[in-house]
């Protein structure tokens, strides 16, 4: 193309009636400017991540200059505001893991069951109404879930559990975890369902042709084939439980506790961060810096879960799409 001399091009252009029409070699600056602007917009998210990392890890580093990392990670007493402060984060981790475990016991099986139902059993019409209804659960503000856990679920648990109405305590991990589990059902269900609908129909038809029934197709073909996607959904669900704040602040309690009893109060990492920040602590104090140390730990934990989840989703997309 470039071998054609410019005079020839001019001739053709004259024939076309619009001089220089085919000759359009001048670059369109506008087009390039647009791409640059769009790229800048896309980079805002990268800047956000950088901002998060800086805002967490710089003050966290200052914190660890004063408190040894081993004291922080393996200490069993957390009392940063006391006269003789203790900075062992284990009680907060226990609180977080306990609530997360209860939420997972609720959300993972129920979410997977809902996904199997929506993907393999529901008629088109049932799916069209049930799926959005289930997703409303994910849209309810978590502070309302917290209110619900504190003022309805906890009294209900006190009513059905033995202990004369005093078990569990007003703030407890069980009620916070149960409600959090229900909140996470749609996350697990919708991602698992995506993975199951990516399983090619040929696999289902093959299994049916061999005489399997719907249950066997679901549990022995579809679920195993969608396993990496389902695992990704589980990871994301657990990550959400670890990072959930308002439910545990309202219903889980604000005192650290090393006990593994879910009927007692527990402060989680998120609850500590929220409660301490709301208390308007002066910048630069050690208590203020603990927010960032705990926040950095929280970020790392959820980051690892998210990355595993993202990897697994890529994997099943590569296999089936």
């Amino acid at each position: 193309m470039s071998s054609t001399s410019s005079t020839q091009v001019d001739k053709r252009a004259a024939v076309a009636g619009t001089p220089g029409f085919l000759q359009q070699q001048r670059s369109r600056h506008g087009e390039k400017l647009v791409v640059v602007l769009l790229l800048l917009a896309a980079l805002v998210s990268v800047a956000t991540t950088l901002g998060i990392v800086l805002s967490l890890f710089v003050p966290a580093a200052e914190f660890f200059a004063e408190v040894p990392v081993t004291d922080f990670l393996f200490g069993t007493s957390w009392s940063p505001t006391f006269a003789n402060p203790q900075f062992g984060v284990l009680p907060l981790i226990v609180g977080t893991l306990l609530t997360t475990a209860i939420a997972s016991v609720v959300a993972l099986p129920l979410g997977l069951g809902s996904a199997v139902y929506l993907s393999e059993y529901a008629t088109d019409r049932a799916r069209r109404t049930l799926k959005p209804a289930l997703e409303v659960l994910a849209g309810i503000p978590t502070v309302i879930y917290g209110f619900f856990a504190l003022t309805l679920i906890t009294p209900f648990l006190r009513w059905i559990l033995p202990g004369g109405g005093d078990v569990p305590s007003i703030y407890n991990s069980l009620s916070a975890g149960l409600v959090m589990g229900v909140m996470i059902i749609p996350t697990v269900a919708s991602l698992s369902e995506d993975a199951m609908s990516a399983v090619p129909n040929g696999l289902r038809q093959g299994a049916f042709a061999l005489g399997s029934n719907r249950r066997q197709v679901s549990t022995r073909v579809v679920v195993p084939a969608a396993l990496s996607g389902i695992t990704a959904a589980f990871m994301l669900g657990i990550s959400r439980a670890i990072g959930e704040t308002m439910i545990v602040v309202v219903a889980g309690g604000l005192q650290p506790n090393m006990s593994l009893n879910p009927l007692e109060f527990h402060q989680t990492m998120t609850a500590f961060i929220a409660a301490t920040a709301a208390g308007d602590i002066a910048t630069g104090t050690i208590v203020y810096k603990t927010i960032f140390a705990v926040g950095a730990l929280l970020f790392i934990m959820t980051f690892v879960m998210n990355m595993i989840s993202i990897r697994l989703v890529r994997k099943y997309r590569e296999v089936y799409e």
């Binding site: 917009a41 805002v44 069951g113 659960l137 849209g139 503000p141 619900f148 990072g243």
Partner: protein, 301 residues
């Protein structure tokens, strides 16, 4: 083996009981019931929660909620006016910051970014991770860089910028899906007629993708106005006046609900429930608009 031999005596029949069953075996039915149970737990909890909040807040669901300002002294005259206006202000400015940037980023990733380049993949993975970062971490970001770093304090500007960063990944991801759903033939047709790339995107792809983008944007905003944790981090606490500008202090419905939940007197629990109903009405009407747009404009290409 002959075909006429009775199935009960045939050795293969026991491994293929399906052939002689009439109706579903018990295991099948039990499995189906179990799946229904899984669906039902979520849906029943939803119904119980909505009913409970309405019943609990019923005595306070009147004009006082909208006309009066919050009070931590007199529950009978307390309202949520400043929280409602604060939430509306937040919603408008969060949309203003997050939608243009989110849609532009989505256009870049779908239309220009080569997915095989490492930096475009990095942007994509980064977005997916950011969408799952706990909201309270965004609160820390807002506290350090926007509230204290830029010195804006707990104002509408700080709150809306923080929430905009929080929902940005959601806006980008849903806009990308809407743009991807526009068939390639439309782009090819436009380019074949001599339009440039950007003209094709601006005049053909975007208009076709607008309903999908709008649906995603509304859902993202409804997530933003339900968030309490990041605002709590920014130091937003209850105020008795309506916001009058970007630099005005404010309170929002989730924060108001939280502070009433922590009050000891039982009247405040009713108020928290009533305010929850207001917030839920705003959210559910936003969701309905989103679903309406989706159903109304769903186009089969």
């Amino acid at each position: 083996m002959t075909i006429t031999s009775p199935p009960s005596k045939s050795p293969t029949a026991s491994s293929a009981p399906l052939l002689k069953t009439t109706g579903e075996p018990l295991r099948e039915r039990a499995f189906k019931w179990m799946l229904w149970f899984c669906m039902a737990v979520g849906l029943i909890t939803l119904v119980v929660l909505l009913t409970y909040v309405v019943i609990k807040g019923w005595s306070r669901l009147d004009a006082r909620l909208i006309t009066n300002m919050p009070s931590s002294v007199l529950p009978e005259t307390a309202g949520a006016q400043s929280a409602i206006t604060g939430t509306l202000w937040l919603m408008v400015f969060t949309a203003l910051w997050s939608l243009p940037i989110g849609i532009m980023a989505a256009i870049y990733l779908e239309e220009y970014g080569n997915p095989n380049r490492w930096y475009n993949r990095a942007i994509e993975i980064n977005l997916l991770n950011l969408a799952a970062v706990p909201s309270i971490v965004f609160g820390i970001l807002g506290l350090v860089f926007i509230s204290r770093g830029m010195g804006f304090g707990p104002t509408i500007l700080t709150g809306s910028l923080t929430l905009a960063l929080l929902v940005l990944p959601v806006v980008v991801i849903s806009s990308r899906e809407a743009i991807r759903a526009v068939p390639q033939s439309i782009r090819a047709g436009s380019l074949a007629l001599g339009a440039t790339r950007w003209q094709t995107i601006y005049r053909q792809v975007l208009p076709a993708a607008i309903p999908g983008i709008a649906t995603g944007a509304i859902l993202a905003l409804s997530r933003a106005i339900g968030e309490a944790a990041p605002l709590l981090m920014l130091g937003v606490s209850f105020v008795r006046f309506n916001p009058d500008g970007l630099m005005s202090n404010f309170t929002a419905l989730p924060i108001q609900i939280y502070s009433w939940t922590t009050e000891a007197r039982p009247e405040y629990a009713d108020l928290a429930a009533a305010a929850s109903v207001v917030l839920l009405i705003i959210l559910l009407s936003m969701n309905s608009v989103a679903i309406y747009i989706r159903n109304k404009t769903q186009r089969r290409w």
